[in-house]
Symmetry: C2
């Protein structure tokens, strides 16, 4: 129960969803002016969290869904016997908290992996608004079913794939998500620590480390700390057992 320290509550720069560079990823609505106004009245913008700070905590009252604007967020679930499972990594343009819509409490915790700014969609207004805007309802159905698929893909990986396959998959997933944002798909900073990768993929930290060095020996990539450059994407795809022209898993 670490107290969440809010260093920066203040003065977010107000940006409308229309102007937001992520609008096509986050809430790509085919709606008219009036609908957009409604949406923007509901969304609270610009909260900034610093690295390590909790955006929300498991079992605390479900207030809102979170859209990442910059930075990165990891979500974790804690079991009764105390061990933690990382359930996802969320980059700009992605929505956190969809798994909590079912109850009055957050189903997981969300922690900023970096200096991170977010927009909030308050829970109480979310259902009402998506009732008024069929496009929004559709989008939420879409996002949630996507999240289910992603989670199933993750389960498949965890139950059937080797350490190398899992890590190759994760790297490729990150790669394509960076690409979506017009960033380099081959040269980027990992938003998370080795520890988080290990936990997420169901491996020991040591294994993750070993696989990274093995990949470097094979000239598939170079990595110094969190900085990664993918040298042979196709080889990684083969390892990940993805068809080359296929969508990423998660």
């Amino acid at each position: 129960m670490a107290p969440t320290i809010k260093l920066q509550k203040a003065a977010p720069l107000k940006v409308s969803c229309q102007q937001c560079s992520l609008s096509n990823l986050c809430l790509p609505l085919a709606v008219d002016e009036q609908d957009l106004d409604r949406l923007e009245n509901v969304i609270e913008q610009g909260r900034i969290y610093s690295r390590g700070e909790y955006v929300f905590e498991q079992n605390s009252p479900f207030r809102s869904c979170i859209a990442v604007r910059s930075g990165a967020i990891k979500t974790t679930m804690v079991t009764e016997n105390g061990d933690e499972q990382v359930t996802g990594f969320y980059l700009p343009g992605e929505l956190v908290g969809l798994d909590s819509l079912s109850s009055s409490k957050y189903a997981c915790s969300a922690k900023a992996l970096d200096r991170t700014s977010v927009c909030e969609l308050p829970a109480d207004q979310l259902e009402e608004l998506s009732h008024k805007l069929p496009g929004l309802q559709h989008h939420f159905f879409h996002l949630m079913s996507q999240e289910i698929q992603n989670s199933h893909q993750l389960a498949l990986m965890l139950s059937k794939r080797t350490a190398e396959e899992r890590i190759a998959s994760l790297l490729l997933s990150l790669s394509s998500r960076f690409q979506r944002r017009r960033l380099s798909p081959t040269h980027f900073q990992l938003p998370m620590a080795r520890n988080d990768i290990a936990n997420f993929l169901g491996l020991a930290v040591e294994t993750v480390s070993r696989v990274f060095t093995r990949f470097q020996q094979q000239r598939l990539l170079t990595a110094r700390g969190r900085e990664v450059e993918l040298l042979d994407v196709n080889a990684l795809r083969q390892i990940a057992q993805e068809a080359s022209d296929d969508k990423p898993c998660f």
Copy 2:
């Protein structure tokens, strides 16, 4: 691409949702008469599938969500390189296909594990109707976010739990789902084969078998084929690492 053999398309006995014994599990709507009528006009009832038959197949056009009335269904995903992952088991009162709402094709296949009757909620009418009935929209948000949580719980199990823990969890999950339907929580038929259990839990069939015999030696349960009797639920709970008064995982 095995052709689906439809032995029984005929003459389902028409039962209204109000009369259905599963109504409180399936679509527990706090809606008025008129709304229920609307719902029932949309739902197609009583298709019956025999054991092994596909209810729908992955990548075929998404037609409808499926509510199980009797029997049981397993869902599976196939990857490009051909191996199959069981993503869930669905018992009467549970909804199949929520992970496909995002696209025009089914994200997984659904196969009857037994003689199984279902109700269908056609895709095209589903969004429209849940727009008209806020209660239905709420319920779908609820179900989908529950499904995400379940899948996260599964991921946690696959990445962190031993074979014994996983199997204990599955048995307890089935137990409480039988109990919900006013059936014995300690004495029931497994709807699925060992093979399916193994695949679902990310284990080899042999491991599943060995754990079952070990559990029997410890007098935790008796099993003959698919018939199972749980003898020491609390011990199983401890193994599964559940708090005794807690909700089941999946």
